[in-house]
């Protein structure tokens, strides 16, 4: 299903859709409020953007430096060119330690690599330990938001789920009660796991350390109790210097949830005595994106999710409407680079309102890239395309003003398109909207009569 179909499905439950919109707006509002307490906010965004530009221009050197430092610190560094290699590397570490059950904290990268089903097929039990991620894992769903994985669910849904899975009281929907039940359940898992997997927020080239940020403390609970810590990191997560963390940690949580900093910000530099740390550096399409001049700076993303919270489309269509691992505006400029055909409707799931660009803490020009992807998609589909570009072309003529557009280009397009397509869209406009009344004369006619 394309984005429009899934979006209209989401809107069917009007009350829930309204709640979803208002809840995420509330998060954006908190972000607005806290960002306005920092006089240098816009300067910080500019700094973060410049640091990331520097990273993308010197990625080779920084990766090599990071590897060298990390290795010297006793961390084992692995490289994976794609999802398959990444998954194999993780599995081989687990096999070496004869590990059949792991705990994993939030990592969008492992979602992208579909690590969970891969490991489960290899007989490894994977427990996602972020509360929201555990909830969606119970439901066999992916996260619907990169920071708030279960934002599409209501507490009633979670109460029923926990009653079934964790034997909580039937009908008890108290979030504190449900969270406590998950705490007890996951505490057992933490205590039993020999290997813990985490994502990475930032890798520091200068020191070879990496930083993981959580509010729940689940990443740390996992890794400090396990013997082996595997950190999965996209190659774009590198930053040059330790002091750059000052800029990014000031922006990240404020942009994500409107809090001044995440409650736990762990800097891993070398393993504790008798333990192991592995880092898997993953490409999986990132170098391809880096080679695309117009789209490379999408790699500056620090995964705060602010563009989702602010997006009027995301708020009213939900994460699943995008059908991509990373939903929302940033996902819509990353995903076409991974699979243009599959994600061809995403760059069109936007009004190009530009709110995502203005909210982005690293100043990615998201809405401009959405525009550019549209140009690429129509090129890739050619003139005989039957899929999305046709629907879009249909749309052009359906907007009531547009079909009257004059000029050679429109006449050209009109020749290609059959009448049924050209005019059927008018019905779509008129389904829930009145058409403007047709005036007795155009401005051009009026002007000729009155001014010339």
């Amino acid at each position: 299903m394309s984005h429009p179909a899934k979006a209209s499905e989401f809107l069917q439950d009007a009350a829930k859709a309204k709640w979803h919109d208002e809840t995420l707006w509330f998060v954006r509002d908190k972000r607005d409020t806290i960002s306005k307490t920092i006089p240098e906010w816009e300067e910080l965004r500019e700094l973060a953007s410049q640091i990331k530009d520097n990273v993308l221009a010197n990625l080779y050197e920084y990766l090599v430096q990071f590897e060298e430092k990390a290795t010297a610190n006793g961390i084992q560094v692995h490289w994976a060119k794609d999802a398959e290699e990444h998954n194999q590397i993780v599995l081989s570490i687990l096999q070496k330690h004869q590990c059949k059950a792991i705990v994993k904290s939030k990592s969008i990268l492992t979602e992208e690599c579909h690590l969970n089903p891969f490991l489960e097929n290899s007989g490894v039990e994977v427990v996602d330990t972020d509360l929201g991620e555990r909830i969606v894992q119970f439901l066999n769903q992916p996260p619907s938001h990169i920071v708030l994985p279960a934002i599409h669910l209501k507490k009633r849904d979670i109460s029923e789920l926990f009653h079934e899975k964790l034997h909580t009281e039937k009908g008890n929907e108290d979030p504190a009660y449900l969270t406590h039940a998950a705490r007890l359940h996951l505490r057992e898992k933490f205590l039993g796991a020999k290997v813990a997997i985490t994502g990475v927020n930032f890798g520091v080239a200068e020191t070879g350390e990496f930083v993981v940020c959580t509010n729940e403390g689940n990443a740390d609970m996992g890794v400090h109790l396990a013997d082996v810590h595997i950190a999965c990191m996209g190659i774009e997560k590198i930053i040059p210097r330790r002091k750059d963390l000052g800029v990014f940690l000031r922006l990240l949580a404020r942009s994500a949830t409107g809090q001044p900093i995440t409650n736990y910000n762990s800097h891993f530099r070398s393993p504790a005595q008798g333990k192991e740390i592995h880092i898997v550096l993953v490409d999986n399409g990132r170098t391809d994106q880096l080679a695309r001049e117009k789209f490379k700076n999408s790699l500056k993303c620090i995964r705060c999710g602010a563009c989702m919270n602010t997006c009027p489309i995301y708020r009213r269509s939900g994460g699943y409407s995008y059908g991509s691992v990373v939903p929302g505006p940033i996902g819509s400029i990353l995903s076409p680079g991974l699979d243009l055909k599959k994600h061809s409707s995403l760059p069109f799931a936007s009004t190009l309102c530009g709110s995502c660009t203005d909210v982005c803490p690293v100043k990615i020009n998201i809405h401009e890239q959405l525009y550019e992807w549209r140009q690429e998609i129509t090129k890739a589909q050619g003139t005989n395309a039957k899929s999305i570009s046709m629907k879009i072309a249909n749309g052009i003529f359906a907007v009531p003003f547009a079909y009257k557009i004059t000029g050679a280009m429109m006449r050209g397009a009109l020749k290609i398109l059959p009448d049924s397509i050209t005019y059927s869209g008018l019905n779509t406009w008129g389904k829930q909207r009145d058409l403007p009344e047709t005036p007795k004369e155009t401005f051009k006619d009026w002007y000729k009569k009155n001014r010339s």
Partner: protein, 186 residues
């Protein structure tokens, strides 16, 4: 070709432009450090308390499993640091010495040297961090200046208790880690 060579070769093949790494200026912080720090901790759902309030907290709750690693609070300890962190699962209170605090967000810097075991501040039911008032810095830029090239194997900013809002965005304290954070500012 190995993953490493493959990735590095692909990056090398991409034409690049020079983009300078910016210097990070020192940003002024208008508030009194102590006032700002206390407000930050409260906002993060922690508490700033005195030493005698800490003693009351322990007495009122009749805590028996207490592990202290902070200077000058040795008498509060009821157990030594075990060699395996799993043995801390029943721990009620951990008292740790913080290195410095950050006024703008309440974050407190700790490293291996303060933690004994890295799991300690997470696995304990209640966390107490002892902090010298004169150690407060203004913001994260000053914080990293202060950390400098400190070579610790593990470093950590803690700014509050374990929390989540994953169920309908309702804030719940005590997700997996410590259910409370108390900071003894002295």
């Amino acid at each position: 070709m190995s993953g490493r060579e493959n990735i590095l070769a692909k990056i090398k093949a991409i034409p690049r432009e020079s983009r300078l790494l910016p210097e990070i200026p020192a940003f002024e912080f208008p508030m009194d450090h102590k006032v700002a720090f206390m407000l930050s901790i409260q906002a993060n759902k922690g508490e700033v308390i005195t030493e005698s309030e800490l003693k009351d907290f322990i007495a009122i709750n009749r805590f028996e499993k207490i592990l202290n690693l902070a200077k000058g609070m040795e008498s509060l300890s009821t157990q030594p640091l075990p060699s395996d962190a799993h043995e801390l699962n029943e721990l009620e209170v951990a008292i740790i010495q913080g290195q410095f605090g950050v006024a703008e967000n309440g974050a407190i810097w700790l490293t291996d040297e303060n933690l004994g075991l890295r799991a300690l501040p997470f696995i304990t039911e209640h966390l107490v961090i002892v902090l010298e008032e004169k150690s407060l810095v203004s913001n994260m830029h000053e914080a990293y200046q202060r950390i400098g090239d400190q070579p610790s194997g593990f470093g950590l900013f803690i700014a509050g208790p374990s929390k989540t809002a994953d169920i309908e965005q309702s804030l719940v304290i005590g997700a997996h880690g410590a259910k409370s954070l108390r900071v003894v500012l002295r």
